[in-house]
Amino acid sequence: MIFSFDLLVNAIVSGILIGGFYAAVTSGVSLSFGILDIVNIAHPAFIILGSYVAYIANATFGIDPIIAAIIATPLFYVLGAVIYQVYYVAFEKRGQESLRGLAFFFGLLFITEVTLVLYFGVDYRYVDARYIGPTLHLGMIDVPLRILVPFLVSLLLIAVLQLILTRTFIGRAIMAVAQDQLALRLMAVDPVRIKRIAFGISIATASLAGAFLIIIQPVEPSVGREYIGRVFAICVLGGMGSLPGTVIAAMLLGIVESLTATFYGPSWAPAVSFGFLLLTLAVRPAGLLGR
């Protein structure tokens, strides 16, 4: 193997950039799985849905995919709130959330995927934007704008989420739901309403993450499957529901994957990242910045 400093630096930089994107993809799961303990395994499917919304807006009206995604967030929020309501009535209220809830989200995953396949077929779709294509050359580092733009917006998204969680009343209530629902009820706050809002926000992030995904790579309905494992890996690694932990874990995973892909070939990348996850689960199940 030829070791080259250029290659190493470029691999680390692209790992960090792609890690930023992973963080955006995972932020929704950190909210739902990390804070609310809802194993929303269908989250990647909603991300693909977000990709398709961005694609439709881009192909028919020529709107920038990220702006389209921001416009679509209220729709996704409502979708998330509705899904939570169904989940709450059908499973959580009866205390059957663990196994049957999982099956419910598995079902949602397949239904979303198949619906997209029926409407759009299995062809790869992509979007047009001015920043897709050009590359910044900073010395020996090459930064494709196609990855840099989603990276920057992802960080912005996570910063906003973190501000909401720590500074607003609703955000603090969401954090409190994770700790003690009964106490929340004693404070005259309805935990179900708070959870509904939190789950809505979690699905709303999928709209943006979907737009990032379709900017970075062409998308077809079952692409999301590749992200199920990765997303939960990052969430657990980051310490379940800690957004700073999620960002750190996402970048770590991005760097590990990118280094493996550069020096041993892309086909080894998943084994390394998931081996990493298995190790974390076996040694420190609380994750990096665990509660």
């Binding site: 303990d37 663990s98 939960f232 890996a233 086909s267 998943p270 081996g275 689960l281």
Partner: protein, 370 residues
């Protein structure tokens, strides 16, 4: 009902099913029935860990694929070393042993992980196993592996009938094993783990031992369901085997039989296959055809390493020369001579080095004059 009676009852049902399938006189029944039976075994196996013990395993496809790939590995080993071909029951036992071993390893994950965490860990385990198989060239890697199945089996007839019978017996075996577990101390132990692991541990139930038994049996049964699969499908590929969503392809494949591909382009071939599938089997088929290996091209004359090389799609003379180690210092770099066959006619022509070449071409690089 007593267990021996239960066993005899299912054996009787199996005999009736096989008899009915035989009387239909149509091989399609066997192809479709095989998939159904395979899922009977898989879900019974999953239930031993997921249902009795309450540990959700998302990696069932991986255990299935492990069984399938152990068969492929044995097949490759036997064809390369020209050993005696192993009978199917032995292959099933080996596949079960391999998956059971991995299941045993997975059991140790339950030491620290419960609920959703265990489910995620099994998901991760499946991805790691898939990556290992993708990178293992001996069993075909990501390209997949072909398995030629024997045409006939003595006493039974066509091979699919034999496979169906094997899977039928396996399904009966799986049901009986599940029943035995359910009615034994083991089953009660599993139930205590499912209901309250901490309380079970406190009352002296050896939870780790029981969980290891459950993961091993469950994994082994899934591997056994997977072991005959390569002979059923004929072509095994990691992404579809680990995805467990081959159900459609596996039925479509035997339905349309063989398709003549000679002389067709990939587009023509895919529309022909789509046409055959549309005749009553699939409503709106999407077929993609890719060439897995082209005929090689030959290059001789003034290149560093003349010889025969594999063809890659959209190759030009320039890339061909590069593959052959580049021009020698005396090579003429503007034009080369290509010999090509169209039908039965051979042609020779001069062409610039940016021209595209085709599989089977012979490229001759001439000497410079000056």
């Amino acid at each position: 009902m007593r267990t021996p009676l239960f066993f005899l009852m299912w054996l009787g049902i199996a005999a009736v099913v096989f008899g009915l399938a035989l009387s239909s006189g149509n091989d399609y029944v066997f192809f479709a029935g095989y998939v159904v039976l395979q899922y009977v075994v898989l879900s019974t196996a999953w239930n031993i860990l997921g249902g009795y013990c309450g540990y959700v395993n998302f990696g069932s496809a991986a255990f299935f694929a492990l069984g399938a790939y152990s068969t492929v590995a044995i097949y490759k080993f036997i064809t390369e070393n020209e050993f005696y071909r192993l009978p199917m029951p032995v292959l099933i036992l080996i596949g079960g042993a391999v998956s059971g071993l991995v299941g045993f390893g997975m059991g140790y994950l339950t030491l620290r992980l419960r609920g959703a965490f265990f489910a995620i860990a099994t998901l991760a385990l499946a991805v790691v196993l898939q990556t290992l198989i993708v990178n293992w060239d001996f069993v075909g890697g990501s390209r997949g592996a072909y398995i030629l199945r024997p045409e006939e089996v003595p006493l039974i007839g066509s091979y699919i009938k034999y496979l169906f019978l094997v899977m039928l017996l396996l399904a009966v075996a799986a049901l009986v094993i599940a029943r035995l577990i359910e009615r034994s101390r083991l089953g009660y132990g599993f139930a205590t783990i499912r209901d309250d692991e901490l309380a079970a541990e406190a009352s002296g139930v050896p939870t780790l031992k029981l969980k290891l038994i459950a993961t091993t049996i469950s994994g082994a049964l899934m591997g056994m369901a997977g072991a005959p699969f390569p002979y059923y499908i004929g072509y095994l590929q990691p992404s579809s085997t680990f995805g467990l969503d081959y159900a459609v392809n596996s039925i479509a494949m035997p339905l349309i039989g063989s398709v003549a591909a000679r002389g067709l382009t990939t587009d023509q071939l895919s529309s022909r296959i789509a046409g055959l599938l549309r005749q009553g089997y699939v409503r709106d088929p999407h077929v993609a055809v890719e060439v897995e290996a082209y005929r090689p091209f030959f290059i001789l004359g003034e290149v560093t390493q003349p010889g025969q090389y594999p063809y890659v799609a959209n190759m030009t003379v320039e890339t061909a020369v590069a593959i052959a180690g580049g021009f020698t210092p005396r090579g003429y770099k503007r034009e080369v001579i290509i010999s090509r066959n169209y039908g039965n006619q051979a042609y020779r022509f001069k062409t610039p080095i940016t021209a595209q070449i085709q599989p089977g071409d012979t490229i001759q690089v001439e000497e410079r004059w000056f």
